[in-house]
Amino acid sequence: MKVRGREGLGPPPASDCRTTGEMPRDGARAEDIQTVRQVLAGDVDAFEGLITSYGGYIAAVVARHLPGEHVEETVHEVFVRAYQSLPGFSQSGSFKYWLSRIAVRACYDFWRRRYRSKEVPMSSLSPEHGNWVERVLAEDSEEAHEREEARKEAGEILEWALARLSPEDRMVLGLVHLEGRSTRETADLLGWTVANVKIRSFRSRRALRKMIEGIPGAGKEG
């Protein structure tokens, strides 16, 4: 399913390329190209139009990968980086996709810095989390997991597990397994090879499974 010409607010479409395996090239929007040309010609203020169009979209992309308190500064960084890299933007491609690439790489850089300085918060889980995993694995009903408290526990388990992965595995797990992007698109977003993404995807998924099995109270299923 390709989504054309969507702009702006609301969560970005993780399923854009899920079925086709293609990168979501939603085409170069004439108005974006026009604005980019204006900025390149020296009209700095024209860049504000691009921030207005894509600020919400980029905030949603970044919010998936980073803790809430770091989203704003990273979105800020994404737009500054985009401005500085604008002369390198190929004006035949989609500005939105180009921008999301910068955003994903900024998130990856954030985690690399954090891991290097060992600032990644390591939360701990209680036996209740283990019981919750056990219930999810046992229950057949999908609706049972849609409740607010279920989401809260899922979020806590996810944060706990992601903090224990390397920045590379963390990004791949998020993009491939949780957002449902293709390995090709993930490779393109991160600037890696497809083989590297495939290996990391396999490794991160296995690591996640092991971690969840190791939560106290979450017995091995099957």
Binding site: L40, G42, A60, Y83, G88, V133, L137, L158, E221, G222
Partner: protein
């Protein structure tokens, strides 16, 4: 085994749901702050104005030609050989001292 797969998929969906619903409300002033930084950076320069500057697209256009030249020269070198005897003779005439060193050097 199939049930285990289904259960794992169910867990993945729940985790993905929690992951995807993460939303954030940006402070109303963030756009102004970004624009302040952008204005501080000043207008972008497509060309630095120096006579030595070559745009990236031209560099890449010439990359293909450069690669072709390398291939042709490589092919010629393979075809004609590197003529080590010629090189040795030239070294003997040009730098006899170096030649002696090369000659006496253990293999």
């Amino acid at each position: 085994m199939k049930d285990a797969g289904k259960a794992e998929d169910r867990l993945r969906k729940v985790l993905a749901g929690a992951y995807l619903e993460k939303a954030v409300r940006l402070d109303g002033m963030w756009r102004t702050r970004v624009m302040e930084d952008i204005r501080r950076l000043g207008p972008l320069q497509e060309s630095p104005g120096s006579g030595w500057w070559v745009p990236d697209r031209f560099v890449w256009r010439f990359a293909a030609a450069a690669a072709a030249v390398v291939l042709i020269l490589g092919g010629l070198a393979l075809k004609d050989g590197f003529a080590p005897e010629f090189e040795m003779t030239r070294t003997f005439y040009d730098q006899p001292l170096d030649y002696t060193e090369i000659y006496l050097e253990p293999a």
